[in-house]
Structure formats: C-alpha cells, structure tokens
Amino acid sequence: MTAVEKIAAWLLAILWVSPLLYAFWAAFHPPEFATTFEPLAPLTLANFEKAWGYAPFPRHFLNTVMLVTMILGAQLVLCTLAGFAFARFDFAGRDIAFALVLLQLMIMPEVLIVENYRTMARLGLVDTILGIGLPYMASAFGIFLLRQTFKTIPRELEEAARVEGCSWLGVLWRVYVPLARPTYLAYALVSVSYHWNNFLWPLVVTNSVNTRPLTVGLAIFGAPESGVDWSVISAGTLIAVAPLLVAFLLFQRQFMQSFMQAGIK
C-alpha cells in the first residue's frame, strides 16, 4: 500500500465520521457556536435538557425496547422451528414452501403497507406494539440463516441423542440450538439494529405517543416545521441513537462479524 493510498484511506475515514462528529459538536455547544468552529467554545448540556423536554423520550425508548425484544423473541422461536423443519425434515411440499419463504427476502413487509394496515385494522391491532412487530416475526432471513446452520451440524450427533431417547424437540433444544449459538448471536444483532432503526411501517401503524418507537418520535421532533433549533435537533438525534451507537462501539468486532456472517450465508 503506497503512502498516497494510506492518506486517502484516512481522509475518507475522516470524511465519513465528520457528519457524526459535527452532530456532537453542535449538541455539546450553545446554539450560537453551532456553525462556527471555535476550539474554546464553552461546553454545555443545555441542548440535551431541552431535547429531553421537547419529546417524550423515555416513552419512546420504552416502546422501542419492548418492540425490539418482542420481535427478536418471537423470531428466535419461529425461525428455529421453521429452520429445523427445512433442514432436517423431508416433508411433502418442502421445496415449494421454502421458495415461498424466500420470497419475503425481496417483498418485505414495508412494501405492503397499504394491505397490512388494513389487516391490522381488522385485527384491532392498529396503534399497538404487537401491530408493529407482527409482520416481522416470521423472518425469511432468520429461517434461511438457521436452516443453513442446522444443515452443517453432523447427523451423527442427532442420531446419538435419538438413541438416548431424546424426542425431536429434545434433539432440537439439546443438540441443534447450542451448536448454532454463533448464528443466533449474529442474527440477534442484525435483527435488533434493523428494528431499532425501522421507520416506515411503525409510522404507518402507530398514531399515539404510547406506541411510537424512537425513530417515529425523532421524525416528528426533527421536522423542520417544529421550529426546534439545530443544536437541539442534534442533541435529540444523539439521544435516540446513543444506546445502539454505544453498544456498537463497545462490541464493534462482534457487530461487524455478525453482519459478515449473515452476509456470507
């Protein structure tokens, strides 16, 4: 690698983090310094205080955490069962069923907002957290990922457990699930960051503070017509992304490896 390339790589890196660094600058300084870079400008937390007061952040946080946990919990159970069925059972119609599952990789629930909204209205689930989560619970991506992982587990292990008198579900729980732990971790990280950040469907199906997740709250808060100044918007944005960003910075290696693993399969 030449010196020029090294410098270019670094310049690009600086360019890439600068929007985020800039948000930090604006959020931690009084509004009058938002666009002027004076290294000795006074630091302040007032913007965070204001932002916290403008929007019901604790409620949005709670909603997002509930949403993300509920989706992940359901996904782990449903995708494990379905992935196991596809990996180890030679049932009639399996290949067609699998192709139908994979269809969801391209036609994701956010494309079908009109019809899914209607379904939620019929089920009485509009403006509920369950309503936001339900379309995502049977995740084709999760089923595919677990099927691929389960397929790599040697059959001998399963047969040994069967000889010991394990039921099918026992085999799944005692042999397959523990051996697929890295896949579960990778999938969990991808799923949590996806749903923490998801916006369109939650926007469509919610209409009150009690159910709106962070992204939707942030969109209302940051809309230009709300008249909130830039420093406060920066602070609010940082509040909203902080948990995920901190988690990412702490476990960045794990995060990137998870995305890689999920991508290779």
Partner: protein
C-alpha cells in the same frame, strides 16, 4: 410422520408469512382492479381503470424516473466505494481498526437520524455545504429546494449511509480468498493493479452480484429520509415510488390507486427476485 412433524414445525411461521407477505401481495393485486370504496359508494370492479389512470398520471412516471436515477446514482458509486474501503481496510494500514469503524458507523444509524444530521448540511446560508462553497465565492444555494440539486443531495447522503454496509460483504469475501494467490502473483512479478483486475476482482464477482441485487432492492424500499429531507419535493423532484404509495394511501386516502402503484413496485421486486434465484442456482461461476 416426518410430513406431519415438518409441517407442524413450520406452521407458526407459515401463518404469519402467509398473513403478512403472500396474502397482502395477492390482495393488493386484487384491489388494483377495484375502485376505492367510501362509506357512500362501496368499491366495485373497474377492470383496468386504475392502470389506465396510472398510465395517465405524470407523477407516477416522474417517481419511476426518479427511482431509476436514484438507483443509478447510488448503486455503482456505493459499490465501488465499498470495494475500495474493503481493500484498504484489509491491507496493512496504520490505525486500521479505527478506519474500519469510521466507514461502518453510518450503517448502525437509523435513516431518520442520518437525515436529521444531513438536513442541516444542506440548509441555505447557515448549512455546512453553503459555508464550504461560500469559501470559493459561490453564492448561497437552496440545495434541497431546487429540483436540479435535490436528487444529488439525497444520493450523496444515501451513498454515505450504505457504502460501509456493503464494505462488510467485500471484507468477508476478501478474507476468505487464499493468501497463496497474492504470494504467487508477487513471485511472478505481477503489478498490484494487474493482480486486482485479473485475480481479486473476478473472484469477488459473486459478492458484487449479491451486493448489486441487495442495493437494487434497497433503492426501492429506502424512503425514510424523504420524510425528513424533502417530503418528495420540490414538485416531486425527489419523490420515490414507495413514498408515493405512502402519500396516495395515507394522505390522499386513495387505497385502490395505492394498491395499483404497489403492484408496479411488487412487479419490479419480483423481477429482481427471479434474477437472484437464477444467480443462486448457477452460483455465478468465475472464469
């Protein structure tokens, strides 16, 4: 027994998949042949009327064109950048972990937050972009308010958000390439450029195609930023198909027409799906 067990295990996921993917897809198609029902006038079969309206709708053609330019503007650049990033981060580079972190960080941010941050760059006069161009004596410009520049602004932001994500796939692929290849090339005296174009790049072809398909799908379902930055404006200059679906369904409350637009979107996505299935089948052989 295996048939029963197989289907039993599959049932919970299958119900939800059918309920929220297959049924709505079919129902959307059916709805596109009916008029939107109101309290006074129930919906009735109208044949291809909605499609005729679609063909006459200048906004529809505009958003389709916009989507095409959005895809063309974001995909090649972010893939090229992603590959470059991956090559750099995979090579010996001082502070490599930090550089990799910088490239990847935009990926974990929600698009809404990203749009909030970038909105300010594009603000006339006080925004960062105007400040920078102002240094060169360029007069202030309303970047997001001008139909000629708004798409470029949205594209630049999307590239920033996506390149680091695609980098990860290239990085994974690069790390799985056998190191002997590079050693052999070095012994043979091949230049780095030659090695890249003749060995690395062809070997990365499956990754490139995988990323390409994903990027294409993304360019049709990524509309979150429009809610913050432009609301599709000015004059639909930055509107995209899915955002238009949202507007028609939830602002103009014309669900029948929204269904018709969704059918177009589904057809496009299905076409990409077929493409991807073909690719998986053939496993993309390199020469």
């Amino acid at each position: 027994m295996k048939h029963v067990y197989g289907w039993l295990l599959l049932t919970p996921a299958a119900i939800l998949l059918v309920g929220f993917t297959h049924y709505p897809a079919v129902a959307t198609l059916a709805d596109s042949f009916f008029s939107a029902g109101t309290a006074l006038r129930p919906s009735r079969f109208v044949g291809f009327d909605n499609y005729a309206a679609l063909a006459d709708d200048p906004v529809f053609w505009q958003v389709l064109k916009n989507n095409f330019w959005f895809a063309l503007g974001t995909i090649p650049t972010s893939i090229a950048l992603a590959l470059l990033m991956a090559l750099w981060v995979n090579a010996r580079l001082p502070g490599r972990a930090l550089v990799r972190l910088s490239y990847f960080t935009p990926t974990v941010l929600p698009m809404i937050a990203v749009a909030n941050l970038w909105l300010y760059f594009y603000t006339p006069q006080i925004g960062l972009l105007d400040k920078v161009t102002g240094l060169f004596g360029v007069p202030s410009h309303n970047w997001l308010g001008n139909p000629d520049t708004v798409m470029g602004c949205v594209i630049a932001m999307t590239i920033w958000k996506e390149a680091g994500f695609f980098m990860i796939f290239y990085l994974a692929a690069l790390q799985s390439l056998p190191p002997e290849l590079e050693e052999a090339a070095r012994i043979e005296g091949a230049s780095r450029g030659y090695f890249f174009w003749r060995v690395t790049f062809p070997l990365l072809m499956p990754t490139t195609l995988f990323v390409l398909v994903n990027a294409t799908i993304n360019s049709f379902k990524l509309v979150d930023h429009l809610f913050i930055l432009t609301k599709g404006g000015p004059d639909n200059a930055s509107n995209l198909l899915l955002y238009y679906v949202y507007q028609v369904a939830f602002s103009y409350l014309d669900t029948a027409y929204a269904a018709t637009l969704t059918v177009v979107l589904l057809t496009l996505l299905a076409a990409f799906a077929v493409l991807q299935f073909r690719m998986i089948e053939r496993r993309v052989h390199y020469r």
